[in-house]
Amino acid sequence: MPSLNQEDAPLLRVDRLTTVFDTARGPVPAVDAVSFEIRAGETLGLVGESGSGKSVTALSIIRLVQPPGRIASGRVMFKGRDLMTLGEREMQRVRGADISLIFQEPMTALNPVFRIGDQIAETLLVHGRATRRDARAKSIALLRSVRIPNADSRIDDYPHQLSGGLRQRVMIAIALACQPALVIADEPTTALDVTIQAEILDLLREMKSALGLSLLLITHDLGVVAGTADRVAVMYAGRIVETGPVRAIFRHPGHPYTRGLLASMPGGRPGERLRAIDGSVPLLGELPPGCAFTPRCPDRFDRCPTAPPPDYPVGAGQEAKCYLHDPAARRPADGSRQPERDAAR
């Protein structure tokens, strides 16, 4: 592998990635010209509701989108190479070794008929990181590193013999087996209890700093993002509507959707009505014209349905796809009001 990481080049640069699903009515974009970067050692939180396209984005990066989905266009630059141009053999070497994935449900991601030790060893052997002779010892060491108690006996367990939290630790051990530069974690704690979730998030943070890896953390939970991510990208209806440093996103959200998500969380005076976002997430293929959030947006004005807004700068390193932030435009009276600055709590 050529080393070509200049100081300032991001580890991963996704550039106008578009993934469509072919339907009877034609191709429908699930991921619509998505662009973002992850620098070495950084955690990017990708936040969105169900159907926002965040998981399809992850699968597109490692080219595991299944038909009827297909990547239609865009580039995914990883360590200076465009992953979209690699042959399948080369791509297989990238998956697991350079970029690995942690899924939401460890019970379905692990193979139920193989001992967990064999599943870790397989990853090591496939990528040439161990020999038959030392695979077991290396697997035990990996289980220890993710703090699984009694690793030398646990290694012979089958997935069903482990609790949900331990299974997710095994998934993390497999993901880290080849010392990847980038780990994509897709809702890694959603199926877990809150105390186990906290342990797994601690482990991910620790592993990230110990191994210097980058993390793409996909979640619907802003609480998880707040404590884990360095930067945040908010997805809505297949598009990234806002990106920025985690503090800026929580303190000065620029997009009305981000503001709505933060405001709708419980945390005000007990018993008070929550500030819900009206309506519901639009279906793929039935997106409203222009900005897809328009029908639900409390700040919408005549320009919103005309065309999808580009990224406008909101603050340092923060951008939002919202005409409220167009410096060139004369803002309508009600659109110019200052966004609410209160933090979530």
């Binding site: 939970d221 929580f250 998500l261 969380m265 945390g267 819900a276 519901s280 997430v281």
Partner: protein, 292 residues
């Protein structure tokens, strides 16, 4: 007199019992007692396997408890014969967690909401139709969608259908078993607001079973924390969040992800070995009980 009073409720499940061996007994609900006042929202929190869902189901006898009492308006519903129990269920209803699996996919929304009225032989056909339309409006659904099937509704709308069905018989007590945890964040707030509105308008009493402590803090007046089948702490919500007494409650509260990047994060880890499982609840301060 409280509206609902649960005393010494026990539910044991037998696992792996066969013809020649007895199997092992698991105590899912272990001597649980609490009371809910009329008009109150009482929260029951705990992690998976803590027994909170089984407790709710025992109260409606959707699973038969092993022992204990569940008094509703002073009467022990566990002693009711079948017909009387059916009558009692008109007043005590449940809304399930998953609006995707709890609605019959082959029935139209109208039929789903109407079914309890049909089962209890209430009203003429025309009266039932009028009642269904009224319920649709009550939960914020569009009456034009009465003839649609569940898959044509979003998750939030499906949960509204489940709620309309639960309200069809004019109950005074609702068990809400994780009513919003399957919904998207932006939809959760809509349903929570609806639940709070309905409680005021219809003078409902809620048992709110949940694992989302942020939500519990927001809508419950009192909370009980369950751990391994037992209530380990019970208190007015503000007191519980301000001064948790039990080691498990402290661990649970410290694990809540706070949506603020600058919030101090000091996690308390529970060492299960230090929990005295035989400790019984005692009153620490007014209305605040803990098994310490």
């Amino acid at each position: 007199m409280p509206l609902v009073e649960v005393s010494h409720l026990v539910k044991q499940f037998t696992r792996g019992a066969g013809l020649f061996h007895g199997g092992t007994t698991v105590t899912a609900v272990d001597d649980v007692s609490f009371a809910i006042a009329e008009g109150e929202t009482f929260g029951l929190v705990g992690e998976s396997g803590s027994g909170k869902t089984t407790t709710g189901r025992c109260m409606l006898r959707l699973v038969e408890p092993t022992s204990g009492e569940v008094r509703f308006r002073g009467e022990n519903v566990l002693a009711f014969p079948r017909a009387r129990m059916r009558q009692a269920r008109r007043d005590m209803q449940i809304v399930f967690q998953d609006p995707y699996s709890s609605l019959n996919p082959r029935m139209r929304a109208r039929q789903i909401v109407e079914e309890p009225l049909v089962i209890h032989r209430i009203g003429s056909r025309a009266e039932r139709r009028a009642r269904v339309a009224e319920l649709f409006e009550l939960v914020g659904l569009n009456a034009a969608h009465l003839e649609r099937y569940p898959h044509e509704f979003s998750g939030g709308q499906r949960q509204r259908i489940g709620l309309a069905r639960a309200l069809a018989l004019n109950p005074s007590f609702l068990i809400l078993d994780e009513p919003v945890s399957a919904l998207d964040v932006s939809i959760q707030a809509q349903v929570i607001n609806l639940l709070m509105d309905l409680q005021q308008r219809l003078k409902l009493t809620y048992l709110f079973i949940a694992h989302d402590l942020r939500l519990v803090e927001h809508i419950c007046s009192r909370v009980a924390v369950m751990y391994l089948g037992k209530i380990v702490e019970m208190a007015p919500t503000a007191a519980l969040f301000a001064a948790p007494q039990h080691a498990y409650t402290r661990a649970l509260l410290s694990a809540i992800p706070i949506p603020d990047p600058d919030a101090p994060r000091q996690r308390i880890v529970l060492d299960p070995a230090t929990v005295n499982r035989d400790a019984s609840l005692r009153e620490i301060s007014a209305g605040h009980f803990a098994a310490v």
